[in-house]
Every structure is written in C-alpha cells, then in structure tokens.
Amino acid sequence: MATITLEHITKRFGKVTALKDMSFEVQDGEFFCILGPPGAGKTTTLRTIIGLEIPDEGNIFIDGKRVNNIHPSKRDIAMIFQNLALYPDKTVFENIASPLRRMDLEEEEVDSKVRTVAKQLRIDWLLDKTPGQLSGGERQRVAIGRAIVRKPKAYLMDEPLANLDALLRLEMRVGLKELQTSLRDTFVYVTHDQVEALSMADRIAILDRGSLQQIGSPEEVYYRPENMFVAGILGNPSMNFISSSLSQQNGDLLIRHDSFIAVVEKKGLGEVLKNKVKDNAQIIFGVRPEDISIFFAKPVGVSIPAEIYVTEPLGNKTIVDIKLGNEVIKAVTRTSFTGKPEQKVWITLKDSKLHLFDQKSGVCVVHSDEKTPLKILTQRSRT
C-alpha cells in the first residue's frame, strides 16, 4: 500500500536526456501502466522509482516521504524483471522464501507464508521442484510469489510477460489483474504492448522519448487521445491519419480532402476549431478502423467514394484496406467480408468518433462526440 509521486524528474545519461521533467502520481492500490515504444524512458522511470537511478533533477516521494537519498533496499518496493532472476539450484519453496530468510523469522512462519502465497498463485503443488522443471508461466508465478511474500509497499514490473508465448501471455494477463484486485496493492507495470496496458491498467501513462504524453484511464486515452502519438500507439490496427486542409467559406469551416469535404458546424466544434487553428492550416483527420463502415452500393445520405486495396480476413473480423485518394486506410468489419480488391465502394465515418490534429504539433484540436458530432456534409465525385 503506497502512493508514489514523481515531481519534475529529469534524468540524463551523458548527452541523452532519458527523462524530461516527468511528473505524475500513482495512487494507493492502483494498477498503473507505463506504455511506450523502446527508448521512451519506461525502464528508467521504474529504476528511478526503486532507486537504481538517481534523478538529476526533481523529487520522488513514497507515501509523501521524499526518498531521493534512500537506498533501494530501504524503499520497501519489490521489482519483477523480464528475466526473472530465479535461483536455478533452489526449489520453488526456497526461491519464494528467499526474501524472508533475511528477516530472521521462525521456520514455521516462513513455511506458512510461503504456502499461503503459493496457494494464491496456484503453484503450491510445485514447491519441491526447481525452476528448470517448470513452464514459463509457472516460473513467472514463482517470481511474483517471491515478491509478494514479503508484503512490500508496492510492486514494479518491467515487461514481465514479454518472454512468454501468446497463449500464456493472455492467461497471465488475466491472472495478474485478478491478483492485483485481490491484493489491492500498488502495481506499476511497464510495457510496450498496448493490449497489456489497455487490458490491465486502471490508468495508463504514455511516454515518448522521455516525455509524458498523456495519463488517463484506458477509456480516456483510447477515446480522447491528446496527440497523434497517443492516438497512434493505441488500438490494432491503429488510428488512420488522413491529411487534409482547413479553410473558410461564407463563414463555414471546411475541411478539405481529395475525396471529401467536411463542413464543421459553427456552434460547438466550429468555435473550438476556429480558436485553435489558423486558416488554411494543414489538419490531420483521425479515425479508428472500427469507426468506418463500408457499403457496396451508395447508401442514403453522404458517403465517400473509395476503392478496396486489399482485404485481410482474420476469422472473426476482416481488415479492409481502402484506397482513399492517394492514401491507404484500414477499416475493420465484424463479419466476413465479400469485397474484392479494386472494387468501388462507399465509406462513412462515425461522426461522433472523429479527431482532428494539428499537423505541425500533432496536438489534438478537437474530438467529436455524440453531443458535438463532426458531420461530413459533401463528397467529391470519383476522379
């Protein structure tokens, strides 16, 4: 049980700034994920929290107490690494018991603690084996058991599932979330896998090149990404970015693309947009693959003419790559899809799920939603 606070943390390695002015607070009992590509500063953040790195600037607090100068072993935080670092020659029992051996406990107490934890993780029948005799998932659970047994204030995990195969990863994802829910302890979990972050976290911090991009619940970061980086890292296939430009006509705001013109209603979105971007600005239109519908015949209402590039059937859904002007965008359909490459189609975009980004800064200027939809009011004919 612990609150972890990072306050304006900066960390440099030579000329490289690994963390830039990083501030966030992990709440007590929270499953907190740090998501980013390799080199984003995720592991450095973890190492700074535990005390393996000393920040060049800024402060770290655990439960309100500044710990910058406190030795890692005194911070009472457990860390689980990708390579589990189990003792290969010791039994599962002794591996789990190892942190207790330093505590001067009665043998009976050690025994009961180890067995309780082993039962909780469903590895109690493996206590006499050595790590070499276990499967990947079981070894993972031993490493977790060794961390849990000493009841630390918080757990830090660095891509603990990255070495497991896909099936096992899925199983462990569910298991870890279940464990955290039952322990109600603070988990800080580092990953480059957006599925892990979305599926387990209460809140996600997204990092890119040492700076914090956004913090929020899975829903917040997925549905209301603050910039193109966040929008692009979440979802699979990821959000489509369509280049277009903004202009004014008779007081209306128009977003122009080769294949369509979106007219932004003056009230609501129009006001916001006008204040945030200059006239004739380059705008990136963001739309997720699941928010695109495809029609073989022109539907009633406004739709955008396009052409199928290729189709990728996945069994329970099909990814349809669509040629829109000179760009290829991806749409996902739930059912089996009968369209063929080079077939002409019409697409519609869900007007409550669109995002507009400033091309220069990548910052999101507007999210549309149910109250303020972004309606595409005209189309351009096929050329």
Binding site: Y223, N236, P313, N316, V332
Partner: protein
C-alpha cells in the same frame, strides 16, 4: 510462375523427425502460408522446396518436373528472410540491381526493372540512399524488391515481417498482399503468426510436430478446423473448450456440474451417427459466446473474473462453476462493463458449437 507438388516428404535430423510424410499441392499463383509453432517443421519444409535441404524420402515437383536432384541455384526460387541481409554499403538502387547484374542484363533494362519494382514498393524516392541508412521497414522492402526483380518462379518468404514493429507490420502485410495480387508469383510464406497466415494466404498449411494438420483456405481453417490443435491455434482470443460426456442427445459438462447442453433432435441424430466415443470436447469461439444477466438464460452460468476494455471490443473472462482452471473468453461490445465476481448467464447458439472427439481430437461436426 509454377505449381508445386510435394509427395510424401520426410526429413529426419538424427532421431528427430522434422517433417513426416508431407504431401501438398500448391497451385500456380497461389499464396500459401506454412503455419505452426516453432519446431513444427515449416522452415525445414521450405528448405526442401528450395533445395537447401534434401529430403530423406519423398519428392519435390515444380510444374510436374522432379526437382530432387536440381541444385538450389537452378530451381528458380527467390528468398526473403527475417533478417533482410541487404548490402548496407551499397545504395538501395545497387541492392535491387545486383541480381540482374549477375545475370548480365542490359543496363537500360536494369534501370527500367529497378524503377518498376521500386515504384511498386513505394521506395523509388530512396534509391540513391545507402541501404544502411534506411529504416528497417524500407530495408525489408529493398530486400523484397531485390528478390522480385529477378522474377523467380517461386517466391519463398521466411517470417519476413517478424523484425518489424506492430504498426509497420500491419502496413507491410497489406503491401505484400497487394504486390502478390499484382505479380501473381507462386509464394510460400513461413510464419508462426496465425494473423499473418489468415490475412495473407490463399491457403494455409497448418503443421504441428512435423505433421500436416490441415490444408485449406483461411475461411475453412477458421470455420471448420479439422482437429483440436487447429481449432486452438487459429483465432485470437482462442476458442473456448469444454470437456464433457455425450449421452442420449445431451452433453454433460465437466466444468458445469449443474449444466448441460441439450441438442436439437436434428443435430442429435447426426451426432449419434458420427460419434464413436462418448468423451467429447465442445468448442465455441469467443465472439459467439455472449455474457448476459442470469435471468435471461436457463442453462449455463459463470463468474466474471476479469474484463479487458480494448477500445474496439471488450473481452470478458469467466470462471466456470466446476472450479477448474478453465477460463472462458467472451468478446463483447466495446462499451460493455460489468462488476467483477458476479455470476452471469452464458448465451450461445447451438449452430455455433463445435464437437470434437476427445480420443482422436478430431472434429466430429460443426453444428
């Protein structure tokens, strides 16, 4: 362009059988994926097609002609590997041109060909750059163009996308498919990733422990998996499996002490005719299993242990009342939310169930 026939290919390494009695017929212009977990024999199969390995028994035919004695260089196959092995000190142009230079093709013709394939790969603006300075994605495109430009009869791709990050992999998958559409080369693609096999291939050969499990179109492999291995390997999240006993039109389920599945009379008579053993496994895909309030269904209930809001969908995980390790998965709409540890009803259509014989692991029927 060529059609390929593999006739009872077997390859052993010491005591280990890497490929056992493999027979396949690959039609001209088809894109075939060899899919399976590591060690299943897929790369060994590809190496026997290219001639890098000789089979211990069995024959390889291209266009009806036996290839066993033909050296790799004369078989007219082109390779692209996971590590693209481009010449980093040469320009992208020279990399792509090198295969043609070896063949002593006329200079103007080389330039025309290189430009054609560079355009196809969308790397024509990068041709003057050193290949070592390109992104990994573009390097892989150079490697692909370098192979395609020599117009091999057969294109062999060994996990060519697995070094790319997820976003680039998505883009390259679509590009590869489009290129195949335009060039129509007979292509064999080795992968352990069922998503790549499903999305790219005309037909998938699923292998496990050196043995071919099924050879079918992606749709067939997904809709009618021949056995439990294929059913479990294809699809994400994986199919749910429930072990049980079939008796008199009813399936008693191990994980549901109070629940059972009662078959309609039409399906019952079919199962009675087809099933040899009474121990069965029922399969149902996560997208066909719906989580509903308990009152809405009479039959099976389970307890929610976790759910994952993935943005485009929500996956719900449930524990069965039997108390076993089996966790069921259900794909629900993206806005589905529920309390943990609540008991829910499970709803599904009989027509979406699969029935496997537990002893043979074979599919008995898809309802």
């Amino acid at each position: 362009m060529a059609y390929i026939k593999l006739d009872r290919l077997t390859k052993r390494f010491g005591k280990q059988t890497a490929v056992s009695e493999l027979s396949l017929e690959i039609k001209e212009n088809d894109f075939v994926a060899l899919l399976g977990p590591s060690g299943c024999g897929k790369t060994t199969t590809m190496n026997m097609i290219s001639g890098l390995l000789n089979p211990d028994s069995g024959k390889v035919y291209f266009d009806g002609r036996e290839m066993n004695e033909v050296p790799p260089g004369r078989r007219g196959v082109g390779f692209v590997f996971q590590n693209y092995a481009v010449f980093t000190h040469m320009t992208a142009y020279d990399n792509i041109a090198c295969g043609l230079k070896v063949k002593k093709v006329d200079r103007n013709e080389i330039e025309r060909q290189v430009m054609t394939f560079a355009k196809l790969m969308k790397i024509d603006h990068l041709l003057r750059l050193n290949a070592g300075n390109l992104s990994i994605n573009d390097m892989q495109k150079v490697a692909l163009a370098r192979t395609l430009v020599t117009k091999p009869r057969i294109l062999l791709l060994d996990e060519p996308l697995s070094n790319l990050d997820a976003a680039l992999r998505n883009v390259m998958r679509a590009e590869l498919k489009r290129i195949h559409l335009e060039l129509g080369q007979t292509t064999i693609y080795v992968t352990h990733d069922q998503v790549e096999a499903m999305s790219l291939a005309d037909k998938i050969a699923v292998m496990n422990f050196a043995v071919l499990q099924q050879f079918d179109t992606p749709e067939e492999v997904y809709l009618r998996p021949k056995n439990l291995f294929v059913a479990n390997f294809i699809g994400s999240p994986t199919m749910n499996f429930l072990q049980g006993t079939y008796r008199n039109g009813e399936i008693l389920l191990k994980d549901f002490p109070d629940g059972r599945i009662t078959l309609s009379s039409r399906n019952r008579s079919q199962v009675d005719g087809l099933l040899r053993h009474e121990r069965v496994t029922v399969g149902i895909r996560p997208e066909h299993l719906e989580v509903v309030d308990r009152e809405k269904t009479s039959a099976l209930t389970a307890t929610v242990v976790s759910y994952e809001p993935l943005g485009s969908e929500t996956i719900v995980y449930l524990k069965t009342p039997g108390g076993g390790e089996n966790i069921l998965k259900s794909i629900m709409d993206s806005d589905y939310r529920t309390e943990l540890n609540t008991r829910k009803g499970l709803k599904f259509e009989e027509s979406n169930l699969y029935l496997f014989d537990d002893e043979t692991t074979e599919l008995v029927m898809k309802f």
